[in-house]
Symmetry: C2
């Protein structure tokens, strides 16, 4: 029953957290950063155990790389916490108050959500990021990392919790579930009344499991089958540069482009340019039949390609008859993350902005900008791809909710 006990402690802490002032929170974040650096040896030792264990179980190299910590990575965590201390605290702000005819003054005050559960996989840096963001936004956090990283997570979270407490943060505001059994996480997802929100961070399977089993509200993050549509008026160089950037600059992330749609009237001219450049950069192209006719060297795409988030140097390409066909394709296959149009035509730009139902819709820019830092929000806890509460990069403000505060002078309802 570890999770129930810790969730109750977190709920009690959350009530106190809601009224902790910004200075104390900032002090705590810096103290937490100091503690990570001071105890760097302990963290590396715990992490070594996890890595050895993973190697024993023949876990693949890319996962071990995610798991592995070194001084640089721990310093990056500490730097992240210090950065969070510099972001403005959204809690307590009231954007405006309005007055009703009976004299009541009503305003919407930003308040913490309460207790936030984070369910994540093998990256131990999530432990520090999530703890820092939840703390600054006035929430208590319950961390539930993967079993692969359990020793690292215990080391990091206990250092952070102790440092936070020493700096005046209520006890229980940062909790880690040490029991990594599946039943424990299943119980966590049913703790309505104790946990207010669960954010899964990880692969598609992890997210699907949380959505299907959680009765606590969930914010979906991260899956990005992103599209770029090059219309018949696009500047070829701009289109090519944006596509190369969106595919090649960091292919393993959720805001990388996965499918490019090209208007038929420019396909013959544009596709060879694009394919040549991408191929020279090591990108495998999977094209529709028309693409293949124009560029015979590309592989043929199947329907499965349109729905795949490659997260790799692979790009699906389709020639479309019109902007309507492009919009239909996006509506059918997009995961609601980020889509862009490359165009010089005003009407097409407006139509695309209005019609595409994704968290971020671009005209003439790379999809890679969908990111808390790039949007000017500072750090983010994830990119929401659902429509409720928060969409796109979730920064500190998205980790809060609001309540109505109403100032009266004895008003009663007639």
């Amino acid at each position: 029953m570890e999770v129930e006990v810790k969730a109750k402690q977190a709920k009690a802490a959350a009530r106190k957290m809601a009224v902790v002032d910004e200075n104390t929170k900032n002090l705590a974040l810096n103290h937490m950063a100091d503690a990570l650096i001071k105890d760097i040896g302990k963290i590396l030792e715990a992490n070594k155990k996890d890595v050895l264990e993973a190697e024993k179980r023949n876990i693949k190299a890319s996962l071990i790389d995610r798991l592995k910590l070194d001084e640089k990575r721990i310093e990056a965590m500490a730097k992240g916490l210090r950065e969070i201390s510099t972001f403005p605290d959204p809690v307590g702000s009231i954007e405006k108050m309005w007055k009703r005819p009976n004299g009541l003054q009503i305003g919407k005050m930003r308040v913490p959500i309460g207790v936030i559960g984070i369910i994540y996989e093998s990256r131990p840096n999530v432990t520090a990021d999530a703890a820092g963001l939840c703390l600054k936004s006035g929430n208590a956090v319950i961390l539930r990392g993967g079993s692969d990283a359990i020793n690292s997570n215990i080391a990091i979270s206990s250092i952070l919790a102790k440092a936070a407490y020493e700096a005046g943060i209520p006890e229980g505001a940062i909790q880690l579930i040490e029991n990594t059994d599946r039943e424990e996480v299943n119980r966590m997802m049913k703790l309505n009344g104790l946990i207010d929100l669960i954010i899964p961070r990880g692969g598609a399977n992890l997210i699907k499991n949380v959505i299907e089993n959680s009765t606590v509200p969930v914010i979906e993050t991260g899956v990005g089958n992103c599209h770029i549509f090059v219309d018949e008026t696009a500047k070829f160089n701009m289109a090519k540069d944006i596509i190369v950037n969106a595919k090649v600059q960091r292919p393993g992330v959720c805001n990388a482009v996965e499918t490019v749609l090209v208007h038929k009237s420019i396909a013959k001219e544009f596709l060879p340019l694009m394919v040549e450049e991408l191929t020279s950069l090591g990108v495998e192209i999977r094209g529709c039949q028309i693409t293949k006719q124009i560029c015979p060297q590309v592989k043929e795409a199947t329907d499965k390609d349109w729905e795949t988030e490659y997260l790799d140097l692979i790009l699906a390409v389709k020639v479309v008859d019109s902007i309507d066909e492009a919009l239909d394709h996006i509506s059918k296959y997009s995961t609601g993350h980020s889509e862009a149009i490359i165009t010089e035509n005003y009407e097409n730009a407006m139509m695309f902005l209005k019609s595409v139902d994704s968290a971020a819709v671009y005209v003439n820019a790379s999809t890679r900008f969908t990111d808390g830092g790039e949007f000017g929000f500072g750090a983010e806890i994830g990119i929401s791809t659902q429509k409720m509460h928060a969409r796109g990069p979730m920064g500190l403000e998205e980790l809060t909710t609001y309540k109505y505060v109403i100032l009266g002078s004895g008003q009663i309802r007639e």
Copy 2:
């Protein structure tokens, strides 16, 4: 498979709905209102069937009263639709755009949620209200009313859907599930990808069932165990008037007060005044032991009373030692709807506003004001008592979400 088929149609309609202009939506709302009046005979006939059926099954009088329609109630539905046509359309508005150092302009655009499912009980007027609010906010709606009202709901929804379509609203934007089997609603709650949000409207059991079984995001509405705390500085007359208003003016609604907490230092003076007035108005008082010592005529409260939403002329009363004890009690028993403090002390007022974690927190006013109309939002689809997405009265704006629109000139990420 009725619900799957209709949800697919609704999803297709939602894409078109998102770009319908405000004039067309307003025209449709007025045309729908006209159609309800024109076909008033059909609706009354269908409703008669429902009422006869309910009487046959010996359903209790208060439920039959909710179910029963007459000309006045249908006229009220039509009036409601016309009113919705006068509210401003939130869709498409962008509060501000900011510019990033690389020249990207970023803004948050209000957009419809998509497909909204409403699961409700016996009041057939919900059919018209929900259809109107979802239409004006650019959403497609799937209505799933109770079996008691099925004939009325079919009549109303088909009249509304036809009138909306005639006025230029995409076909399929207003749908009613005619199959009232429980399995059908269970399937509805799993249609992630087709339905974006489910709002349950009804009693605590209905809401609990939807929260436990829906994998589609849910907004909880309506359960209100509301508190008023009278502190040691309160003006007695103001406190008494507010409590009487919050308890008696309409005891059956979610924003009525259910428990009054009174500071011990004024209990002896204040409680007899309050109890006398409430008793004379037919309110049954259930008090803690100290309340009973001061006013021996009241019933004794049990722990169950503190957690009960009476929705009736019953009030629980407890004497507390301090504002901290009042805050603890509220934190433990409140359902997060509406709470008020009656005070002349600035520090207590600020403390209460800051600490109470409910959708609406009042100083010196009746909890009965938690209502879309009273807040100045026009009609509402419900009062959210959860923390994600929307809190308190949910008007048109709360039936929308946002997306980021980003205007570039060829920017790529470094």
